[in-house]
Every structure is written in C-alpha cells, then in structure tokens.
C-alpha cells in the first residue's frame, strides 16, 4: 500500500452515549467525552494542531487548535474541549486564522530554517502547520533569544535528539509517562528557557530511558528522529507485520524506501500493543541484513572439517538421502526434528508434517519444551486447554494483579507498560519472585506485597495461599459449585486445609513471612477481579506442572476465571511459542492438542495426508539426546533453534549431537548447535516471508513479506524442498494454503484463514462456528473440559540440593535489551545496554568470598563451570544468585542440570546449586569450547561445485 501516514485524530477515542453537534455546518455524532478536535477529524475537518496526538490525552499547550463556539466567549482549544449536545462550532474564521498565524509566527521566530535539508522534511507537523496557517512573514525577525545553540545528543545508537528542533510540545514527555510508564523525560526549567531533558539533564543513553522509541514516534518534528531516517531518508511505503521477538506480538508498520527497510513503527490498530513498542521490536531489526547471515547451503561429512558451500539442490538431496539411509540402517524412529517457536505457524505445521508424514514417526519437539510445556500440561488438566485464558486488554479491568515467576518489564515490556498503567490507576499488585524485579518498586508503582521465596518452593507457597483462602472461608462457593468438579474440589480443599499446608508451616522452607503470605492471599481472594500472570519462574522447575495447576486451583477457588479482568495468563517467551504448540510440535499430540493415540483425530490426518500415522508418542528433545548417546537416534532436522546454548546441561546436549550421523540445522546464522551440524540450510527472517504468528493471548496475526529472502527461500519453501526430496509431493505455492489445511484439520482453527485475518487484522482462537468472532476470554460459561478440575498439588522438594560444595542457589532470567540466546539482538546495537551476562550476587555472599563489583568469578555446579563478571546487588536475597544466558561465551547452560519437570521434562533452569569463587579468567571448558567452536565455523572458500 502506498505510504499514507496514519490519520491522527488528535485525542484518544472515548466510549459513552452519543452526543450530536454541528461543526462548520456539518452534523456530527460522537461518544460523550470526545474532543471537538476528534469529532471534526471524524468528518475530515483537520483542525491545525501540534501538541495533540491521539495516542496521548489532550494537553492544550500549542494553542493552534482554537475554535469558536456559539454562545461561549473566547476561543477555546478544540483538543481540550469535549463536545456538548447542540453545540455549534466554527473551525475557520478570520479571527481564528489570525490567531493561528500569530502562534506560528512565534514558533518560527525560534526554529531552524533548514527545512529542505532537515531529516524530517516532508514528515514534520510544524512544517505542515506552518503551511496550513499560511505563514508568510516572521515580523519578530530571527535574531531574538532562541534555542538554536543546543548540541545534538547522539548517545542512543538508534535515535538522535536535536534540542534546536524542539518546540517544547511535551509529547515525548507524555509518551514516556503515560504510554511507556518509565517517566524518564521531563521539561527542564520554565518559561522561555524550558527544554526537554532526560533524567537529570543527562544524555539519553545514561538516563533512565529504556529506548522504547515512544518519544521518537510522538515527536512532531525532527527533534527526536530515528538514525535510519537520517541516513536513508523518509520512507515511501509501508507493510503491516508482526514482531519476531517476544510473546506480546506487537504489530508494526515496516516503513520502506524501495526494498530498503527504513524504520519499524508500532501500528496503532495493533490489538496487542495499541501503537506501543520496545527497544527490540522498534529498533533491533538490523540483524536481518547482518553480514553474519549465511546465504548459501553448506555441507560437510564430519564436524571437524570446514563447511563446504553447495547448491540448494545438492544440499536438499543430501539431507533426504542421509535421512533415508539412517532410517534404513537404524529404523524408522532413528531420526526426528525440532520446530522453531520463532518461525510461522505454517512453517511449524510443515516441519511436524514432514516428520509425521515423511519420517513416519512422532519424534518432533519444540523449544516450548524448555519454557511453557508445563503450562500445556497443567492448564489442559485443570481447564481442558493448554492456553492462557484472557486477552491482554483484560488487564485494564483487573483489580488485583498477581505476578509470579515473571519479570514483565524485561520479558514482555509492552504488556508491562499496560500493566503499569493499570497499577497507576489503582489496581493492587502482588509479586512472588526470589528477586526484587523492577515491578516490585519503580516510579509510581509499588507492590502491595513482594513475597521473595526461596527458588523451588512455588508449590509450597501457592498451596499455603490456598490454605488461607479455604480455611478463612474466602472461597467463591457459588462459582465452585456451579463451574467445578465438586468431588475433586472437596478432596483438594481437605488437602490444603491441613495444618502442614499453613503459611506458618512453610514459612521456614520458603523464607516468606506467614503474615505477608496470609495478607497476600486475602487480597487476591477479596480484592475484586484477580488476574494471575506467570512466566518461566513457574514452569522451569521440577514441579513446573504442579505449580501451574496450583495457580489454576487458586483462580478457580476464587471465581477468577471466565470474565474480563481475571484469568490465568502464561506470559509466553517467544513470538510464536504459542503457535508452535498449537501446531502439534509436541511428540505426544497432533495440531490442536489432540493426543496421537486418538484414533478419530489420526484418521482425519491420515485421510488428508495419505499415510498411516504412528499412534505412539515420539521422543522429547532430551530423550532424543539420550537415544543418540545410546546409538539408536542418528539424524535430526533443527529449524530455528539453538539447543546447545538454550537447553540445559550443555555437555549432555553436545554428547548427543556428536553421536548423530546427520545433524541438519536451518537458521539465519551459524549458531552453537551448528558446531555439531553436517548440513546448514540458510533460514529467512520474519521480514522475508508471509505467514502468521500466534502471541501469548492466542491472537493469530499476519506476518507480511517486506523484502525478498536474502537466502533465496522462505523457511516453509525449504521444508517443502526437503519433503519433496523425500517423495512427499507437496504442492504449496503460498502459506495461505497451509493455513487452509490447518483450518481443515483443526477444530479450534476452523474459521481461520488469511482472508479473515486480512479483513479483521487479527483473531484469537478458538475461532469456529461456535465462536465466529474468536475468543478473547475463554471458559466463559463453562470450562473447556466441562467442569474445572481441582488437582491436589503437594510440595515435593527438588533433588537439586545446596550443600557445603554448592551452598548457593542459581536462578536464571532475561533482560530487556537481549533476546533468548541473543542470536538476533547480539547482531544489533543492543549491546549498548547489555554486552555480557553478569552474575548478580548479594553483598553478604560477595563479601565473605572477597568478591568486588565487576570482578571475574567462577560459577560452578555439579554439571559444569563457567566464568563471568559479578554484579553486587541486593535485588537477590542472600543465598541466591542470578544470571542471564544471552551471550554464548558465558555458556550459562553448562551450569544448569538435567533435573526437570516431572510431567513434561521442562528443565529446572531456575534452581541449580552452585558455588561462586573469585577467578582470574575463562574456565578451561570455556577456552576448549571457544577453540572447538571457531574450528567448526570455518567455511572453505572453494567455489561450490556447479
């Protein structure tokens, strides 16, 4: 579509009964509370404005938008004056024109005059309005006091702040305050001397700014502008697509100049992000054109040899023949594959189809194994379906927000901004986390209760909360009676009521004062709409599934499921981890969470695919690696995952991969797993293909091709090449056909198609005859399984115990600027914020080990050792240390063990017994690993055989 700047109505939309008035003789009807400016814009009357924009509440400072209202003296500003019945408004009179020119004359008496070479030329509201009001002369002249001498702030790698171009409209300050909620900007000084400042008048990079880009987007001039626009010029067309980073699923306008991507601007119509963004989606997209991109297929017979570039034809036939060879010599189940939660639904569906139809087994798994597989198991068992119950908008009606095992401001920043806005409006917050995450206390936000529990004791704490709710009679009896399985409830209620489950009984174990726990439980049960948001801090434990079920129990017991403002909401990590689970990436179920042993379901697929399917569940990732070391699993196809860096117990993963005969990796860059690969098939980025992602609120959204794939093929095309090389005769020409197949075979997706998504922008599954509009909130009248099932969850301590050798507990997490294994974000400027993984350690623990802030320390567990630099902070409790796993050279996962969730084998990243000692440099393992990794990344420079 040609480049039409999104229409700006000037003030946000309001809801309420209709009010009718006339503007310039034209009748208009709008909801009560709507500004005259917005009403006029709705009938295409563009009243001049500069400080108003519809993503922000009206401010009334520029005074350009004055109008005349019959029966009212003076010239009220149309942005701050709501409509009233029978109001008669005039937006164009001689007096108004004179006043607007007068205001503009003042603006231009203190503004640079280099429009023609300005980086916002053609995209500047001051320029537009100067034209609109017909300014012809600045009678004050240009030599009065002015702000032309301020120097530019180019500290932020992504945008430049030029104070000389600033008209002090405060749109940036308000965007930072209301939309993002960081409040990092202010006006400094007053009167004519007023100027925009970050924090205490510092440069943006050293200020409190988190670089979300909202201020740059809100700025009407070139005072705040993207560096890519300065370098490349203003864009001329745009495509709406969905971000490929976290599970919030923000939609963006990818703005182009020809084939060149200039900037990503959040899309106002986006139902998940409503026009907001974070540093990753907004700015960190440079990796797509990074020189590390592998563009040609490569093959080698052994991992010790350098890579050999080959044609697509040779690579694909090599893969097909190797897999067939392995199956003939080691059996059908000797090969398998891993789908990516960063590729599209269509691509994930094809990989599991390749494995089930082509390989003839169910050996398919996905990275959800290591993050939210317990959510799948836990919510399916209690509610009947494996997905979160609400949409993101639901948080706007929450009265009590319980965040457990999640760090939204780092992991899901755009949703965190909406949560913070609700908290600023007065909702109460409970945080359960060993670490004092930012949400516990940051400007204008303070948790009513922070329960800093010992890592690994979630189930004990949640069951104790249940104890309080049941024994103090806070259960929503009517709800439970009507909506839940009575027998299961009775058993559960009896179990949690036992004294051993009381807060007092588990106070010593969890380290959480009983009084705080009781108060938090009472608040959640009685504080109105209770909404629980949780993340990997719940799932990545040996009792991950039990914790999810304990959460579900609390929600059911207090009637907090099945209406807006409540629910059990998993904050899923990656952009399409929800989609990859929906598409049947788990070895035990077909798309739509239907078990492989379900004959009716299998028959449906067998009829469509013309093969008989294996009725037995396949191998999980860790089982594949075990089988590999046992010599019974020899070949694997890994699309868009780096299990060597992201999965636990790196040595175990390495051993498994090394034992295989054909490891095929499809990715953008050579990654750690590729060190053990025999075939490398170049992947494509989300900018280079069509398809859909499904975010954490089950919202399916379009991903649209913005540029041709640099590597020649979209990922689904590569999978089709492999499939057809194995004789499957697939004939897809466009991802929409794959979605039609998914809809055909999956009841919860029956109504989904690319046409429907084009028309509605996005839709939340289930979407079928029973739910023609999709399902924002699930379990409305009854649970998907009929009656909500209470499940008794008893605390079973993990086998990963601290002791004299390993006295501290390590937990892991993520930071705003880096993403997952950092493959994408490390190839952007985001290193400016987090260039290396750091070990957070409490002052006491550091002191008695002689460790100072910034020192190199050795981090050792039963599984392995690595070194990184210490960061001394009281964010973590004594006895607990914390780090991230974004940078391969720290290889944090060499430390994590194989312990995992009893039901799903989701690894226990969050609890590892470790010791920390001062160190003088990288561990031997790290140096050996570095050498091996460099050796295996060599690419022979010989020309590929034609």
């Amino acid at each position: 579509m040609t480049f039409t700047r999104e229409k700006d109505f000037g003030t946000p939309a309001k809801h309420g009964e209709t009010v009718s008035l006339t503007i310039d003789g034209q009748p208009v009807s709008v909801p009560a509370g709507t500004s005259i400016m917005r009403a006029a814009a709705m009938v295409d009357t563009a009243i001049p404005k500069l400080c108003a924009t519809d993503s922000l509440e009206s401010f009334g400072s520029c005074r350009l938008c004055l109008v005349e209202i019959e029966g009212r003296k003076g010239y009220p500003a149309s942005c701050t004056t709501p409509v009233a019945p029978e109001m008669v408004v005039r937006t164009e009179t001689d007096k108004l024109r004179k006043l607007r020119r007068g205001v503009m004359e003042l603006y231009i008496s203190d503004h640079p005059l280099d429009c023609l070479t300005c980086s916002a030329n053609g995209d500047c509201e001051l320029q537009d309005q100067a034209g609109a009001v017909g300014l012809r002369d600045v009678r004050f002249g240009y030599e009065g006091a002015n702000h032309l001498e301020g120097c530019k702030d180019e500290s932020n790698p992504y945008f430049t702040f030029d104070p000389a171009k600033c008209i002090v409209c405060s749109r940036c300050v308000r965007a930072c305050d209301d939309v993002q909620g960081t409040l990092a900007l202010t006006v400094d000084g007053r009167g004519f001397a007023s100027k925009i400042a970050a924090s205490q008048g510092e440069d943006f990079l050293s200020s409190e700014c988190v670089s979300c880009g909202a201020c740059v987007q809100a700025c009407p001039t070139s005072a705040l502008i993207e560096n890519t626009v300065i370098d490349k010029g203003t864009p001329d067309k745009s495509v709406v697509t969905t971000c490929a980073y976290c599970g919030v699923g923000c939609t963006f306008r990818a703005e182009m100049r020809g084939e060149d991507l200039v900037r990503m601007v959040p899309w106002k119509e986006g139902k998940a992000n409503h026009g907001h963004s974070c540093v990753k989606g907004r700015f960190a997209w440079g990796y797509a054109q990074h020189r590390d991109r592998i563009l040609n297929p490569m093959v080698r017979t052994s991992v010790d040899e350098p890579w050999r570039e080959v044609s697509w034809e040779e690579a694909i036939t090599h893969v097909a023949s190797e897999f067939r060879r392995i199956q003939s010599s080691y059996g059908t189940r000797a090969i398998g594959g891993i789908t990516s939660s960063r590729c599209t639904n269509e691509e994930t569906f094809l990989v599991q189809k390749l494995i089930r139809q082509g390989f003839g087994n169910n050996n398919v798994d996905t990275c959800a194994r290591v993050c939210h597989s317990p959510t799948g198991y836990g919510l399916k068992t209690t509610f009947g379906t494996s997905a979160g119950t609400q949409d993101f908008d639901s948080v706007e009606q929450a009265d009590v927000i319980l965040v457990i095992g999640a760090n939204p401001t780092d992991g899901h920043p755009v949703f965190a901004s909406r949560m913070k806005r609700r908290l600023r409006e007065g909702a109460r917050l409970i945080v359960v986390d060993p670490r004092r995450i930012d949400l516990v206390r940051s400007p204008h936000i303070e948790a009513a209760y922070h329960l800093p529990l010992q890592p690994g004791t979630n189930v004990a704490l949640l069951t104790a909360m249940a104890h309080v709710i049941v024994t103090e009679g806070l259960v929503d009896e009517a709800y439970v009676r009507e909506r839940c399985d009575g027998e299961a409830y009775a058993e559960w209620a009896a179990f949690v009521s036992e004294p051993a489950r009381s807060p007092e009984a588990i106070e010593e174990l969890t380290g959480v004062p009983a009084a705080d726990l009781r108060a938090a439980a009472r608040l959640y049960a009685t504080g109105g709409n209770g909404a629980i948001y949780y993340g990997l801090g719940v799932t990545e434990h040996s009792q991950g599934s039990s914790t999810v079920m304990a959460i579900a129990n609390l929600a059911m017991a207090t009637g907090n499921v099945g209406k807006p403002g409540t629910g059990v909401n998993p904050l899923r990590g990656q952009n399409n981890v929800q989609g990859s689970c929906d598409m049947g990436s788990f070895p035990h179920e077909l798309p739509g969470y239907r078990h492989v042993s379900d004959n009716a379901t299998r028959a449906l697929f067998e009829a469509d695919w013309g093969v008989t399917l294996d009725a037995q569940p396949g191998l999980r990732i860790n089982n594949m690696l075990d089988a590999a070391t046992d010599g019974t699993f020899k070949g694997i196809f890994i699309q868009g995952e780096d299990i060597l860096q992201s999965d636990p117990n790196t040595k175990h993963v390495a051993a498994g991969l090394a034992a295989m005969e054909c490891v095929v990796v499809q990715d953008l860059f050579l990654n750690e797993t590729a060190n053990y690969a025999h075939v490398f098939l170049p992947g494509s980025t989300f900018l280079e293909k069509d398809g859909t992602f499904t975010n954490a609120e089950r919202r399916i959204q379009m991903v649209r091709k913005v540029m041709e794939p640099k590597n020649g093929y979209a990922d689904w095309e590569v999978v089709q090449l492999v499939a057809n090389a194995m004789g499957l005769r697939w004939t897809y020409t466009h991802p929409s056909q794959i979605m039609d197949e998914i809809a055909r075979l999956t009841p919860t997706f029956a109504g989904v198609s690319f046409d429907v998504l084009e028309e509605r922008g996005s839709v939340q599954w289930p979407m079928n005859a029973a739910a023609p509009e999709g399902t924002p909130t699930m379990h409305l009248d009854q649970f998907v399984r009929g009656k909500g099932l209470f499940v008794v969850t008893d605390y079973v301590p993990t086998d990963e115990r601290t002791g004299p050798r390993f006295p501290l507990l390590l937990t892991t997490g993520r930071i705003l600027s880096q993403y997952n294994v950092g493959a994408q974000t490390r190839r952007t400027e985001n290193g400016a914020w987090h260039a290396e993984d750091r070990l957070e350690i409490h002052p006491h623990d550091a002191e008695n080990r002689g460790i100072r802030d910034g020192d190199w320390v050795a981090l050792r567990s039963r599984a392995g050792e690595t070194t990184l630099r210490a960061l001394i902070t009281d964010r973590v409790a004594p006895g607990v240390v914390y780090t991230t796993f974004h940078h391969p050279d720290t290889q944090a996962n060499v430390i994590t063990t194989d312990f995992s969730d009893w039901a799903t084998n989701c690894p226990e990243y969050k609890v590892t017994a470790v010791q920390v000692m001062p160190s003088n440099g990288p561990s031997d393992w790290q140096t050996r690993y570095r050498e091996q990794s460099d050796r295996s990344r060599r690419i022979a420079t010989v020309e590929p055989a034609e």
């Binding site: 202010t186 007053r190 924090s199 206390r441 400007p443």
Partner: protein, 154 residues
C-alpha cells in the same frame, strides 16, 4: 559518602509514607538544611518518594527557591515589583548592585553575597523593600543601601 548520609537523614525525616505530594516539603527541608539541593541528592529523593529522577529534576528546575549551587554567605532578595518601583525601587536596585559589586540575579564571585530578585513581599506601601538573610527591611534609601552593605560584608 557522609554527604549523602546527610541528605538521607533529612529525607528520611520528610519522606513519610502516607504524606501525599511530599516532594516540595522535602525539597524545602533540604534547601533549608544545605542551602541548596546538589545533584547527588536527586537519586536519593527519587528513591525515597518512588519518583523518577527526571520528575525530581523537573520540579527542582521549575521553582526559583530551589538552587543546585551552594548559596552565598549572605542573600539579599530585593523586590522588583511595581509598588516598589513606584517608590523608587529601580534606582535603589542600581545603587545596591554598584555598592556590592554584584549584578541583579547573581552571586558575587567571592561567595560573600548574592543579590536575587523577588516579585513582591507584601509590604507594598512601605517600599522599596528587601529580605536580608530572611529579615524584612523597608523604605530602603541610600542610607539603607549603605547599612545593608555593611551588614553583608561583615
């Protein structure tokens, strides 16, 4: 670190959890105690009141009473408003600036005295008026200027 400890004691005394809009009273207390609010105090204030550093900086920079530089030993706040001008205030301002060797709105380089404007002290029938280190002085004439100069040079 003692400097920050000094701020912290004043902050703890004023950042009462239930007092809403505590920032101005706290800034007044710091201004009173230290004669100014230095940059290192801002993060401590922001943390105590759970505000951003930007908010605190924005408020400090808005109000003329809050200074970020150490005060002169003596501060003369001379009224420049209309009623005092009607009673010869402008001439007195000139005499005082010349006599003390400091321009209106500035502190003398030696840090001995600062001459600051104030717009009305509410003594509008007995001007020209001033606050000399907080003490009200009225009907300032040439003799008055000399008396003030002697006092602040001591």
């Amino acid at each position: 670190m003692t400097e920050n400890a000094g701020f912290q004691t004043v902050i703890d005394r004023h950042a009462l959890p239930d007092q809403r809009g505590a920032l101005l009273p706290l800034l007044h207390a710091l201004q009173e105690e230290f004669g100014h609010i230095p940059q290192p105090a801002v993060p401590l204030i922001a943390d105590a009141l759970n505000l951003s550093r930007a908010e605190v900086h924005g408020v400090i920079s808005f109000y003329p009473d809050f200074h970020t530089e150490p005060p002169a030993r003596h501060v003369i706040k001379l009224c420049r408003a209309e009623s005092c001008q009607a009673r010869g205030g402008a001439a007195i301002e000139g005499e005082l600036a010349r006599h003390l060797g400091v321009a209106m709105g500035h502190a003398r380089k030696d840090g001995q005295v600062a001459l600051e404007p104030v717009y009305c002290l509410g003594l509008c029938a007995i001007g020209p008026n001033a606050l000399i280190d907080g003490r009200p002085v009225a009907r300032i004439d040439t003799a008055g200027v000399e008396a003030i100069a002697r006092e602040v040079e001591a």
